[in-house]
C-alpha cells in the first residue's frame, strides 16, 4: 500500500530538491513546484477517498505511517494550502520585490515545511509525529526573516525559542506516556503507535497520564497558539512573508491541534473525558478572551489576522471539550478556518505589496484601489466573523448547540460574549480598510488577476460548506468523531 503514501510525501521533497538546483527566476521552476504540490494534493484526496471506502492505509515497518479519517482530513488541508502557497508565493502582488536567493530559499523551505507537516499527520508513531512537528518549527523559522529587519529578526527569534521550548515540553509528555506503558508492558518498538496506546489506554495509571497530558497540552498548545503560550504568534505571523503566514496560520495551527486531538482521545480513554475537558475549556476560554480583547487595539492588519487565529484556536479547544457533537463542530470549524485564514493572508500579502504599509490606518479605499482583492478580503472577513452563508456560521452554530445541549450554559454565554467583542472590532477594522479615499501614491486597479483565481476557489468552497455540507465531508467527520470524540 505504498503508492498513495509515496505520491503524498515524495513530491514536496522533490520540490525542495528542485528549488535548490534550478534557477529561481525561471518560470519553469515555479511551474515544477506548483505541479508537484498539485500531485501531493491529488494524493491526499485519493487517500481521503480510500478512507471513505472503509480502508485504513498503512505503510512502513511497525506500521510507521497510517491514515485514518482524521489524518486524511488534515493531509488534504495541508496539501491544499501548500499548493496555494506554491502557486502564489512568495511574490504576491505582481511586483517582484524578493531577490532570487530569497525566492529560492522560500521555495526550498516551504516545500520542506509542507513535507514535515504531511509526515506529522500521517505518522502512526507518536515519536515520529513529534520529530516532524519540531522539524516544522525549524523549517518555517528559517524563512520567517526572509527580509532581514529588526522586527523580523525579533519575531523569528521568539518563534524558534518559544516554539522549540514548547515542543520540548510536549516531548516530556510523550516520554511520560511511554514510561507508563513501559512500566505495564515493558519496552516494545511499536509501543509508541497511536493504535497501541489507544488500545492499552484503560490500564494506564491515572496520575501519570494526567501529568503527561498537562505537559502535552502546554507543549503542543504552544505550537497551536493557545494562551498563555501564544506570545510568539502575532509577531511571527505578521513578520513572515504572506505565503508563509498563510501556511502557518492556516495549517500549522491545525496540525498542532491534530496532535492535541489525538492525545486527548488517548487520555480520555485512560482517565475519562472530564479531566482533559476541564483543561481544554480553561485554556480555550483564556485564548478566546485574550485574543478577542487584543483585536480591539490592533493597528496592523496582519497582526489582526494572527490574533483572529488565536481566537479561533481557543474556540476549537472549547469545542473539543463538548462531547461528540462538539468534536464534529470543531473539525468542521478547522476546515473552514484553514480555507478562510489562508486566503486572508494571501490577500493581505497583495495589500502589503500595493500599499507598502502594514498599518490599518494607512490602508483605505481598498474597494477603489483593488476591487477584486477587496471583495475577496471582505468575504473572508465576513466568514471569520461567523456570518452566513459561509461555513464558519454553521460550525460556530453547531458548537454553541453542542455546548447548550451539554448543559454548559454559562460557558457558552462567555464564548458568545468574546465572539461579540471580536465581531465588533473586526467589522470596524474592515470598514476602515474598505471605504474612504485611496491614499496618494498608490497605484489603482487590479494587477495580476490570475493570481486571485485560486483564492476564489476558497470562497466557493466556503460557500458550499456553509450552505450544504457535502456528504463525503460529513461522512469523514462522522468517522473522526468515532475515533476522537467521547
Amino acid at each position: 500500500m505504498s503508492a498513495p503514501f509515496l505520491t503524498l510525501l515524495l513530491p514536496p521533497l522533490l520540490a525542495a530538491a528542485g528549488a535548490l538546483v534550478l534557477p529561481p527566476r525561471w518560470r519553469g521552476s515555479w511551474a515544477l513546484h506548483a505541479a508537484l504540490a498539485l500531485v501531493s494534493l491529488l494524493a491526499a484526496l485519493r487517500l481521503a477517498s480510500l478512507v471513505l471506502d472503509g480502508w485504513t492505509p498503512t505503510w512502513g515497518p511497525t506500521d510507521l505511517f497510517r491514515v485514518d479519517a482524521l489524518s486524511a482530513l488534515l493531509a488534504a488541508c495541508v496539501a491544499f494550502v501548500a499548493a496555494l502557497a506554491a502557486l502564489l508565493g512568495p511574490r504576491l502582488g505582481g511586483e517582484q520585490h524578493y531577490t532570487p536567493p530569497q525566492v529560492r530559499r522560500f521555495r526550498v523551505f516551504a516545500a520542506l515545511f509542507a513535507f514535515t507537516m504531511l509526515v506529522a499527520v500521517t505518522a502512526n508513531n507518536v515519536g515520529v509525529m513529534w520529530i516532524a512537528i519540531e522539524a516544522t518549527t525549524i523549517a518555517s523559522a528559517v524563512i520567517v526573516p526572509l527580509t532581514v529587519s529588526k522586527a523580523s529578526v525579533e519575531a523569528s527569534w521568539k518563534y524558534i525559542l518559544i516554539g522549540s521550548v514548547g515542543i520540548a515540553l510536549a516531548f516530556v509528555g510523550t516520554v511520560l506516556a511511554y514510561f507508563d506503558f513501559v512500566t505495564l508492558v515493558g519496552q516494545r518498538d511499536y509501543a509508541l503507535n497511536w493504535t497501541v496506546l489507544l488500545a492499552n489506554a484503560p490500564v494506564l495509571h491515572q496520575p501519570v497520564i494526567e501529568l503527561a497530558f498537562v505537559f502535552l497540552l502546554i507543549g503542543y498548545g504552544t505550537k497551536a497558539g493557545i494562551a498563555p503560550m501564544h506570545t510568539w504568534l502575532p509577531d511571527a505571523h505578521s513578520e513572515a512573508p504572506a505565503a508563509l503566514s498563510a501556511m502557518m496560520s492556516g495549517v500549522l495551527l491545525a496540525v498542532a491541534l491534530y496532535a492535541i486531538v489525538r492525545w486527548r482521545a488517548v487520555v480520555a480513554a485512560a482517565v475519562g473525558p472530564a479531566f482533559p475537558s476541564r483543561l481544554l475549556v480553561g485554556l480555550g476560554l483564556l485564548s478566546l478572551g485574550i485574543a478577542a480583547l487584543s483585536l480591539v487595539i490592533q493597528r496592523q492588519y496582519k497582526r489582526l489576522l494572527a490574533y483572529s487565529s488565536i481566537e479561533h484556536t481557543g474556540l476549537m479547544c472549547v469545542g473539543l471539550a463538548l462531547g461528540p457533537l462538539g468534536v464534529f463542530a470543531t473539525m468542521l470549524h478547522l476546515i473552514n478556518h484553514t480555507l478562510a485564514k489562508s486566503m486572508m493572508f494571501f490577500l493581505s500579502g497583495r495589500i502589503l505589496d500595493r500599499y507598502g504599509t502594514p498599518e490599518i490606518g494607512r490602508v483605505s479605499g481598498l474597494l477603489r484601489v483593488m476591487p477584486l482583492t477587496a471583495g475577496l478580503f471582505a468575504t473572508g472577513m465576513i466568514t471569520l466573523l461567523g456570518l452566513p452563508p459561509f461555513g464558519m456560521f454553521l460550525s460556530k452554530f453547531t458548537l454553541l448547540r453542542a455546548g447548550f445541549a451539554g448543559g454548559q450554559g454559562w460557558l457558552m454565554a462567555a464564548v458568545l460574549g468574546f465572539l461579540a467583542v471580536a465581531f465588533v472590532s473586526l467589522l470596524g477594522h474592515l470598514h476602515r480598510m474598505l471605504y474612504g479615499a485611496a491614499p496618494a501614491g498608490v497605484r489603482q486597479g487590479e494587477s495580476d488577476c490570475w493570481a486571485v483565481l485560486p483564492l476564489a476557489v476558497c470562497v466557493v468552497a466556503l460557500v458550499v460548506l456553509g450552505l450544504i455540507v457535502p456528504a463525503p465531508v460529513t461522512a469523514l467527520l462522522d468517522r473522526i468523531v468515532e475515533i476522537a470524540g467521547r
Binding site: N125, G127, V128, W130, I131, E134, A135, T137, I138, A141, V142, P145, V148, S149, K150, A151, V153, E154, A155, S156, W157, K158, I160, L161, S164, V165, A168, F171, V172, V175, L176, Y178, F179, D180, V182, T183, Q187, D189, A191, L192, H205, P207, V208, L211, P234, D235, S238, E239, S294, I297, Q298, R299, R303
Partner: protein, 219 residues
C-alpha cells in the same frame, strides 16, 4: 550490577547533571556556561552507558557514544566559536539576580520532586530514583531561558532542557525506540544550527545579543 548500586549510580549521575545545570544559574561568563554544558553532556552520556551496561542493551551504548560526539564535542566547538564573537557580553544583570535564581532553582528541584512522586511510585525500575532530579533539570532550564538576557544563554538553556528530557527518558524507560532517539538528535542538532544562525543575525541587526533590545513588536 546489583539494583542498589544502579540506584546509587543513577542518583549520582543525575545529581552531576543537575549540578551542571545549576552552574548556569551561578556563573556568569559564557565560557563557564559552555564548560558546564560540556560536563553535563559527559555525565549524561556516562549515565546512559551505565544503564546500557545494566540492561545489556547495545543500543544505549550507541546512544551514549552519539551523545558524547554530538553534545560533548560537536556542539561545544560551535558554541566556543560563537563565544569568541560574543563572549565579551557576560550576564551582568539578568532579570533575576544570582542568589535569588539559585534559591528559585532549589525550590524548583523540590517542586520537581513533588511532581514526579506518582512516577516514582508507579515504576519498578531501579533507575527510577534519579527521575526527580531529571525533572528538576527541566524546570531549572526553563528558569534559565526565562530569566537570562543574552541570546546565547537562552540557547544553552534550551540545550540543557533537551539534556534533561533525555535523562528522564533513559532513567524512566531504559531508552526510547532507536528511531525516535535518532530523530530527536537530528532535530536538536538542526534546531541548534538554526538558533546559531539567528544569534549571528541578531548580532548583525542589533549590534548586541541582548534580548532586551528585542522589544519593537508590542501588543
Amino acid at each position: 550490577m546489583s539494583p542498589q548500586l544502579v540506584s546509587q549510580l543513577s542518583v549520582g549521575g543525575s545529581t552531576l547533571v543537575l549540578l551542571a545545570g545549576l552552574m548556569m544559574l551561578w556563573r556568569r561568563g559564557v565560557n563557564a556556561h559552555i564548560g558546564a554544558f560540556t560536563a553535563q553532556s559527559v555525565a549524561l552520556a556516562a549515565t546512559t552507558a551505565m544503564v546500557g551496561w545494566f540492561t545489556g542493551d547495545w543500543q544505549l551504548w550507541a546512544v551514549a557514544v552519539l551523545l558524547l560526539l554530538v553534545k560533548a564535542v560537536g556542539i561545544p566547538i560551535l558554541l566556543k566559536r560563537m563565544a569568541r564573537r560574543f563572549g565579551t557580553e557576560r550576564e551582568l544583570e539578568p532579570y533575576v539576580n544570582t542568589a535569588t535564581s539559585l534559591l528559585l532553582g532549589g525550590l524548583l528541584v523540590l517542586l520537581a520532586y513533588v511532581v514526579t512522586g506518582p512516577l516514582v511510585s508507579v515504576s519498578q525500575l531501579p533507575t527510577r530514583t534519579g527521575m526527580p532530579l531529571a525533572m528538576g533539570l527541566v524546570f531549572v532550564s526553563l528558569l534559565v531561558i526565562i530569566s537570562r538576557k543574552k541570546a546565547l544563554t537562552q540557547v544553552l538553556g534550551f540545550l540543557m532542557l533537551e539534556n534533561g528530557i533525555a535523562l528522564l527518558a533513559v532513567l524512566g524507560t531504559h531508552g526510547i525506540p532507536i528511531i525516535v532517539e535518532i530523530g530527536v538528535f537530528l532535530d536538536v542538532a538542526l534546531g541548534f544550527m538554526v538558533m546559531q544562525v539567528f544569534v549571528y543575525q541578531i548580532h548583525e541587526t542589533f549590534e548586541s545579543i541582548d534580548v532586551e533590545q528585542l522589544n519593537r513588536l508590542r501588543e
